[in-house]
Point group: C2
Chain length 349, copies 2
């Protein structure tokens, strides 16, 4: 019987509500397909910070390094500054474990109302660079508390970093409809984005069978609204991928269902699976958060662990429950609870 | 009789097609309201570059500095790299003339089909910081042509630059529904965006009558799609404003109608008025581009020049022509030409 050891970090806010549903559904699928999962629960996050002054223990990364995967809810709570909470937990995991691909599917399901008048079939992937780019520690502040105060933030792109994520995106497109869109802004941003385009052209040379297109991020957001059906795989820098992966799910009805996989494709380090949404303090504690983003992230985790059938069973269960129109959470126009929707999907598995 | 001297730069691509329509309509309004306009046509752009090796003459800025306003079409053509064409013409004008506010209205007109199922009334302004931020010359490349190749781009925010554009946005909100939304990304971008939030809070202190909200740029794009009716004024950094001001008009049907005003509010330097769309090489030369972005920019120019009635007459004419459903260009579902639509609006004025 195949087995895997999973580090679970519920984190903050609705993370604590959706993770148990994710675990429940993944466990259900694991039982059906005879997979032996060990769940190692870690109480890291802003509560941990309140008690111990840090988001995770000093040796936190070591403690999860030996796991096969990390199953994360959401990080962030008003008691800790965002920069601190995210850059001492989420970002170190993404960076240190070289999870340089953030893979985010965008799909319109039957039963979920899109805000668009004529959405058509929507089914594409965003491949977000997840280790460098606009997210960096480099920069600082000068002349604090004076009228001359200023801050600088460095965006850093490397050939190594661009090429590896682009290669992943081309390979994914090759398994799909062989169309890859690159998000750029080389008409306005001088040093980094023309380089991004250069690397995109260079890597494309190895994939002559993939049709490519490039759009500036501003107009690309317009295309997401006007022709979301036309995308297959979209590759983007860290920030642009972050933006597009909220916009894409919004166009399909709710970001509550959007999952993500922070992948270390070489499997040298554990990969991490988390919903696209955050800790949502405004709805936390009410048992109304949509658990599908977390559950679908669980399916991506099983797929990454080699349990393709179990992963497929979860996605099929999500599809069936959504199509039934029953047990939908408020963000999808229903009035079911987080636990009711989670249970319905577990039952459907 | 009030008078003004305007520098006209058609620029490239569809700029050459929409600017004449803009001039035609603005002239029509000027005649009705007794305003004496002098149009100083400058053949700057990529053709100028082909002939003379530069986008504009060396003393270009001096040549337009004495004008009351600049009426620009679009810049950029495949024969010149984007970085060169934009950073030797558009950007120097925005920067040197301290056009630090890029004001971009977003409005859903009767007669234009929004891609949204239930759009509701949409009528808000984006106030984009236009002089600093993510658009900067600072940065560079190391280890070219090696596997270690990397690039760095500096985003620069100053207290001076943030405060003045935020103040403008608060003042605009005060003339409207007293609601201001700030676009940020302080949970992911360490040095600049937390500073943006700090300055927003500080400036907000002087405007206790304005209700404020702050959203991370990723989720804000989702809100643009899901509740565009709820915005009044949105203030954003250079890049975030760029993105939001394509997305907003896309949600209202077409970015072809979106105008912009690059304002130097102190009027020390001329302000510049240009559509949000670019030179659109794919449809250039076909007489099918939507001239409304340019025409509406002309109305914003008249308003800035103090001719409020003439500006209002143009917007009313645009409204009437759109509502009639006649003379619409292909981007709005019609089959009229650029010139036919421009003429219809001029006649309606
Ligand atoms: C052409 C480009 C540099 C420009 C910008 O990004 O400012 C355009 O997109 C705009 O919105 O005016
Ligand atoms: C919480 C935040 C730092 C994070 C990001 O920007 O990466 C989130 O928005 C995401 O998309 O995973």
């Amino acid at each position: 019987m195949p087995s895997a050891k999973i580090a679970v970090i519920e984190g903050d806010g609705i993370g604590k509500e959706v993770v148990p549903e994710g675990v429940k559904v993944v466990e259900a699928a694991a039982r059906v397909f005879g997979i032996d999962l060990t769940w190692d629960h870690l109480d890291w996050g802003c509560d941990h910070h309140a008690r111990l002054g840090r988001m995770m223990p000093e040796n936190g990364l070591d403690r999860i390094a030996g796991h096969d995967a990390i199953f994360l809810g959401a990080i962030g709570w008003p008691t800790v500054s965002d920069v601190e909470s995210l850059w001492t937990l989420l970002m170190p995991i993404r960076r240190n474990f070289q999870q340089y691909v953030n893979l985010r599917p965008v799909r319109l399901f039957d039963g979920v109302a899109s805000p668009l008048a004529r959405p058509g079939a929507i089914d594409f992937y965003i491949v977000r660079e997840n280790n460098e780019g606009e997210y960096s520690e480099v920069g600082g502040r000068m002349f604090p508390d004076t009228d001359q105060e200023m801050v600088i933030q460095d965006t850093v792109l490397t050939r190594f970093g661009c090429d590896r994520v682009m290669k992943f995106a081309f390979e994914l497109a090759r398994k799909r409809k062989r169309r890859l869109t690159s998000a750029t802004k080389s008409n306005g941003i001088i040093h980094t984005m023309p380089f991004w385009d250069e690397r995109f052209r260079a890597v494309a040379g190895d994939f002559p069978d993939i049709a490519t297109e490039q759009y500036h991020i501003d107009i690309l957001t317009a295309h997401f609204v006007r022709r979301p059906s036309s995308f297959d795989v979209v590759v983007a820098s860290n920030l642009f991928g972050d933006i597009l992966s909220d916009l894409g799910p919004a166009v399909t009805g709710t970001i509550g269902i959007a999952p993500s996989a922070n992948l270390n494709p070489e499997r040298r380090f554990p990969s991490m699976f988390e919903p696209v949404h955050g800790s949502a303090p405004d709805i936390a504690g009410k048992n109304i958060a949509n658990p599908i983003g977390q559950i679908w992230s669980g399916a991506m985790m099983l797929e990454h662990l080699g349990a393709k059938d179990a992963a497929g069973a979860i996605v099929a269960a999500i599809e069936r429950v959504l199509a039934s129109g029953e047990n939908l959470t408020p963000d999808m126009g229903g009035n079911a609870s987080t636990t009711a929707l989670g249970q319905a999907i577990a039952d459907a598995v």
